[in-house]
Amino acid sequence: MRVAEAWRVALDALRANRLRSVLTMLGVVIGVAAVVALVGIGTGTKGQIEQQVEGLGSNLLLVVPGRLEAGSAPAASTMTIDDVEAVARVVGDRDRVAATIASGETLRAGSRSAFASMQGVLENTPTVFVRKLDRGSYLTRTDVTTGRRVAVLGAGTATALFGDRDPIGRQITIGGVRFRVIGTFERLGQSLGVDRDSEVHVPVTAAQRLLGTDRIDGLAIRAPDRERINQLSTAVVDTLTERHPDSDFSAVTQEQILGVLGDILGVLTGVLAAIAGISLLVGGVGVSNIMLVSVRERTKEIGLRKAVGARPRDIGVQFLLEAVLLTTIGGVLGMALGVTAALLVDALSPVPAAITWWSLALAFGVSAIVGIIFGVVPAQRAGRLDPVVALRTE
């Protein structure tokens, strides 16, 4: 009964000062909206990256020079094409081992130019990584063994150099050397704001000649099955270490990459949410402030209520409910605003966003807790008012 009355009085008090209530809520609304939107964007980005890494195909093992440990510097590669052959023997299937040497190069076609990532690769790349062609054909075994100057363009690079024209059979230059376009890839889109379509694949041998090296940067292996992946990883690293006793090699699986990326994004999302949480805290201070004003304004009412039998607790609960009502209404409005903002970002920008139920529940819970924390002091002050003094107040 008393609590029902307290709710009624609290609602009535908020309604009586509509503008003030709305302005006070605004702090909480903005704080909650920021938390919900930022967590949504963090979650969405994480989901997209996971999808893309998994989109590379399953059972993938990436082999790179150096140690993959926190704080270790990236190592220069000592691997050559001969190592690819050695690893292929370990794996038992040449088609499952892809090699890459990469470099950023300027591509030209007539008067147009584009900057792209040049990937010197083997002919098996589209099967090791899942890549689909849009037009033409991919590199052949002969292209790789003879170092033929042929190129397969990423969708973005193709558009940059040729616009709507068909690039197949046309000449381009990569780093000043002439290549012939034999195919184009399907569009991949962006990832974390990086354009994944600005690339060009050429035979690894041609790339090595262009760059004046016989090294390769890394290997990628598609394991025949999931169970063998760890065993294969050890065998490959051992083989490479045997061939290059002075160098370290590391093999990582998709799961490991996902784990690292997930950790980084988790921390990033947490930091963003914490910053947004600070604005929620500021909103809470505003609630505290306005509640103190409310207690002062209604001192006479408090005195009267006490005179007719309200206990300190009854008065305290009434003001606490008023504060909680302020922050939870603000919290609900903030959730609506945050969800809207996240959905707009998702729809109108390349940044993805996903709303999770736990983030909404958390936002609501936190706004209620903020109301309790910042309402306690004004409520206690109201509850402890001396009825004689309160009644005398004008």
Binding site: R2, D12, K300, V308, G309, A310, D314, P387, V388, L391
Partner: protein, 232 residues
């Protein structure tokens, strides 16, 4: 029947910035059921302090005060609130009605803190408004009523808990004399029904209507009410 309120040598000293200011210095007083008592005195005489103590809004710094048979010295603020709710009805000079709240809900307010359900609260409040002659004003808000009507609502609110003592602090102070007379007549008719009425006033005409008068001066009761000290 036991006395509603028994004060034995009560005093109240205020501490103002480290200086002790005695507002009441040893007052003994008994209020019996059905009493009609006027406490008279000028401003600063200690009559308001005495009323706050008798009403359980404050506690004496010395002496013994029993309200409804209970010694207030050992009570917590919460227990004091319960005691006020059950024993005392307050009527104030400035009515102290809640704005934006109907006459009925104003009258029902003390029942909220008694934990009584909404339906019964409203029924009893309506009945009480009828008793003070305001059955046509049940859904009106204070600003829609005259001063006399507002004071009647306040009296109804004081009565709704069926208290043994009605404490009225200058109940006619904000009313014109005709309205004041009718409010006093109402209090007297309630007294006739058995409620003890304690009037605090500086108006000797009003005080003269009570069955008993106490004159306060400098925090003590002046021995003889007919003495020159009353007149001033």
């Amino acid at each position: 029947m036991t006395a509603a309120i028994v004060a034995t040598g009560i005093s109240r000293t205020y501490d103002l910035d480290g200086v002790s200011v005695p507002a009441l210095r040893g007052v003994s007083l008994t209020i019996e059921p059905g009493d009609y008592l006027a406490i008279v005195g000028t401003s600063g005489s200690g009559k308001s302090t005495l009323m706050h103590l008798l009403g359980g809004l404050d506690r004496p710094t010395g002496g013994t005060l029993l309200i409804g048979g209970r010694d207030v010295a050992g009570l917590t603020p919460g227990e004091m609130a319960k005691l006020r709710n059950e024993t005392i009805g307050f009527v104030f000079q400035s009515f102290h009605l809640l704005a934006r709240t109907t006459a009925r809900d104003n009258v029902a307010l003390p029942l909220v803190y008694r934990g009584i359900g909404r339906r019964e609260r409203r029924a009893r409040a309506t009945e009480m408004l009828d008793r003070v002659g305001l059955s046509h004003r049940v859904d009106h808000r204070p600003n829609q009523m005259s001063g006399g009507e507002q004071q009647r609502v306040a009296i109804a609110r004081a009565l709704v808990t069926d208290p043994s003592v009605l404490l009225a602090d200058e109940p006619t102070g904000n009313l014109d004399s005709a309205t004041g007379q009718s409010v006093l007549a109402l209090l007297e008719s309630l007294n006739a029904e058995g409620v003890a009425v304690v009037l605090v006033t500086h108006d000797r005409e009003v005080a003269a209507r009570a069955h008993r008068q106490i004159v306060m001066k400098d925090g003590v009761i002046v021995p003889d009410p007919s003495s020159a000290a009353v007149a001033q």
